[in-house]
């Protein structure tokens, strides 16, 4: 990407943690628990290992492409056509993930706190800060994210420890859930929870030191795995997995269990406040990546002109869903599969072929 904005490894890792936190907040862990029942925690450990191997290959394939993202690699492999196709696919992915996230969270907030407030107003209140943040670029977004991150991480860890008084260890068993085959083979589709890898494809050129890419990728995957494991274990041990199928925000359910003596019995609003900040960071990053992809594909000088139309587009798509259940259905029936195929299959194949092509070219050069 042509942008001169570069960020350090701490900022990138913080952004990844935010993406993971956001996934957890908007119920990814519940979807995994629903898919794999009590085997979810083993499934996540298994998927983390698979992703680590995957990341190893990604880093290897990306190595010859200095200062390039997946679009540059696509252009190298298949020219402008492939680049445009990949751009469209990824823009669609990020727009859908932003729209579902914004709608899901706003709708949940409406159900919990703002019964009389119009949904449009709530979505607007989330999209406006995202647009303003994007006007200030990646430095502003990553900086703000870095400031809020310790609080967000602290909130989830606090949640885990304070809810631990209600943990029942026996609920983790049977460890293999629906069976070994389901846990390790059929539920491999849960890999969509590691969609953080999709962001890795785009954030590489923004790194101050490209040599940190491998380190950052591994840390991102491990953190993602740990975070998911923590949330899944908390959920499994707190409630019977059958109970939470229809919950909007499962983590919110956990916060309801927290009380400090007789004085503070409902602190869920504080957690929601922190999570709003996390979600705003996540949405800002998404909008930033979308605008960067479009800027790169159609050779725009600046992203300033496209921030507003894209934001309006996300806002409109968010409004298209009927209710939370329709978002849930959309995520489990379409989005999960789409993101898994795009991130883990299509992009991987493109990277592999581009790597082979690059090696061949280098070989020819060396011969000459």
């Amino acid at each position: 990407m042509n942008s001169i904005e570069k960020i350090g490894k701490f900022e990138v890792i913080a952004l990844f943690i935010t993406i993971i936190s956001n996934n957890i907040i908007i119920n990814i862990s519940t979807i995994i628990v629903n898919n794999s029942s009590t085997g979810a925690w083993l499934n996540i450990i298994y998927l983390t290992l698979i992703c680590l191997v995957f990341i190893f290959f990604i880093c290897k394939f990306f190595k010859p492409f200095i200062n390039s993202d997946i679009l540059d690699v696509s252009e190298f492999l298949g020219g402008k056509i492939l680049k445009t196709i990949m751009s469209i696919l990824y823009v669609a992915l990020f727009i859908i993930s932003s729209a579902t996230c914004i709608r899901y969270f706003s709708n949940s907030l409406k159900l919990i706190y703002f019964n009389y407030t119009p949904l449009v107003f709530l979505i607007l209140l989330m999209i406006i800060p995202v647009v303003i943040a994007n006007r200030y670029g990646l430095k502003g977004i990553s900086g703000a994210n870095l400031i809020f991150l310790p609080v967000a991480v602290f909130s989830i860890i606090t949640l885990f420890f304070t809810a631990s008084q209600d943990f029942v260890w026996e609920r983790l068993f049977p460890a293999l859930g629906y069976g070994a085959k389901e846990t390790f083979l059929l539920q491999i589709t849960n890999i969509f929870a590691f969609d953080v890898i999709g962001y890795l494809y785009f954030l590489k050129p923004f790194l101050k030191k490209e040599t940190d890419f491998k380190k950052i990728s591994i840390i991102a995957v491990i953190l993602c795995g740990l975070y998911l494991l923590l949330s899944i274990i908390s959920l499994l041990m707190s409630f019977s997995f059958i109970m939470q199928t229809d919950e909007t925000l499962s983590l919110y359910l956990l916060t309801r269990l927290i009380s400090f003596g007789n004085f503070l019995q409902r602190v869920d609003a504080i957690f929601i406040f922190i999570w709003i900040l996390t979600i705003l960071s996540y949405l800002s990053l998404n909008l930033f990546i979308i605008t960067q992809i479009i800027k790169k594909t159609i050779n725009l000088k600046s992203t300033a002109q496209i921030i507003y139309p894209i934001a309006v587009f996300i806002f409109s798509i968010g409004l298209l869903f009927k209710n939370i259940m329709s978002i849930k259905l959309f995520i489990s029936n379409f989005y999960n599969i789409y993101s898994a195929i795009l991130i883990f299959i299509i992009s991987f194949i493109i990277l592999l072929l581009a790597y082979i092509k690059k090696k061949k070219k280098q070989g020819v050069k060396n011969e000459i």
């Binding site: 350090g8 701490f10 800060p129 303003i132 200030y136 430095k139 900086g143 870095l146 929601i272 960071s281």
Partner: protein, 566 residues
Amino acid sequence: MSNLKDKLKELFLYVPTEKYDFILSENNATPNDKDLSTTFLPDAEIFSSLAKNYDYLKVQYNSLINSDIILRPFVINICGKTYNALLIGIDGMISSPLVNNFLLRPLMGTNSCNNNKNLRTKNGIEFKKIKKVNVADYIFDKLLPQNTVKKVSKFSEVSNSVNSGDCALFVDTLNIAFVVDVKGFESRGIDSPKNEIVVRGSQEAFVEKLRTNTSILRRLINSPELIIENSSIGNISETKIAICYMKNIANSSLIAEVKYRLNNIDVDYIISSGNVEQLIQDNSKVAFPQMISTERPDKAVNHLLEGRIAILVNGSPYCLIVPGVFIDFLSSPEDLNLKHQYSNLLKIIRFIATFITLFLPGVYVAIMYYHTELVPTPLLFTIAASRNSVPFPIIFEILLMEISFELIREAGLRIPTPIGPTIGIIGALVLGDAAVSANLVSPVLIVIVALTGLCSFAIPDFSLNFTFRIYKFLYIFLGYIAGLLGIAAGLFVQVTILCNLRSFGASYFAPYAPMTNLKTSVSYFIHPIWKREHRSDFLNTKRPIEQPHISMKWHMEKNDNKNQKG
């Protein structure tokens, strides 16, 4: 009798009103004024004819109408030759004894060249041996017993010096003038700081006189590496400023940037460091302060030794320090004088106070409107009971009280000093009590507003305090329209803007965002003095190491001796 007649006339007859009416012309200046303004020639060279110089100065200084301009013509006798001379100065700015004793007396009295020692007798005839002398050099070397004498060749240089309290000497046939430092204007002596009071630190504060301020810095730093460069700002006022930095520590690019900004200000005048601050800050749309302003020389010295740059402005008792990052504005000069445990406790308290100042009223509104479940049930009952008789909505209540509090604060500053604080306290007490008694507001709200006001005084920086007072109202509004969602959205936007903000190249949230190596950087909380080994890395100084790994060498030596004995 005539008075009565006039009164009766006024009562029963028509008398045209004769009202004194003065209206300024809508045009800024009449054509004549414009013509006059162009007669001023700031860059004119000094003439060799004294008469011409005299006329020029008369016009330039409007000596016919200006009462304090002293133009003193006299005659100098050098080696038997007489020269007409002219001295110019401003009454009240020059020291009369200095002028009389060390300027006029040597110049007008007998000098070695024209006394009788030079008389020689040859063949019974007395004659005087006259050496051919360079008049300018002779005056400079022998007739001006002053330590600060400059030769200048332009009228602009003359006026600069004369306006700042020097005298200028013109001599016929010379196309230069001698500028002599005979300043003698009254100024305030060094006093204790008024706004940055500390218990254990120095009790000296900057004053309005630039040279006094630079001398304080020079005395405290005591190193030839301290550079104090002079410059001036203002087409009319030509206010003197001093750019101070440690040559062996401060980043060269930072020094160049400060000089660049200061030398590229095109205004007619500046009257304080606050004007300079607004003219050189990175982003004028952001209310947050972007450079440190202090009246304490010890604080300025500490920052200079850290690698920052200080800007002193003549006529202002405040020193500007650049770059300034967010954590600087939450730090007090006392922090470095105390043990790190005490300082860090105070820093935690200040941090909490910052949050309360900014968010407490907004969060209260948000909780009361949208998140009442956060409040413990017994407390919620108490609040509900206390609000029972209040007819207004919470938002009105809080705005009423916040505005009243701001009013008391502002009025407290304007009321004459002896009764100001008393009126402030009594005003607050009476107003609060009366408001509760009249069922205008609930007692809980008084507590909220009072706590917010109290916490705002714990913020050490005046500008940051002001900024938070403004944003407090924004958060009240956001809390009202969307509860904690609104506050979170506002906070996110604010932090994003601040993360993007820079102060002379340093990120505003340094060293936290972007995160630098916190081990080698000065952070909000301070380490023990022996552990402060590095200068802030966001300053990118020439000497990143402040002190060796082991600064308390006596401790090591004692241990070594013990080991040897053992």
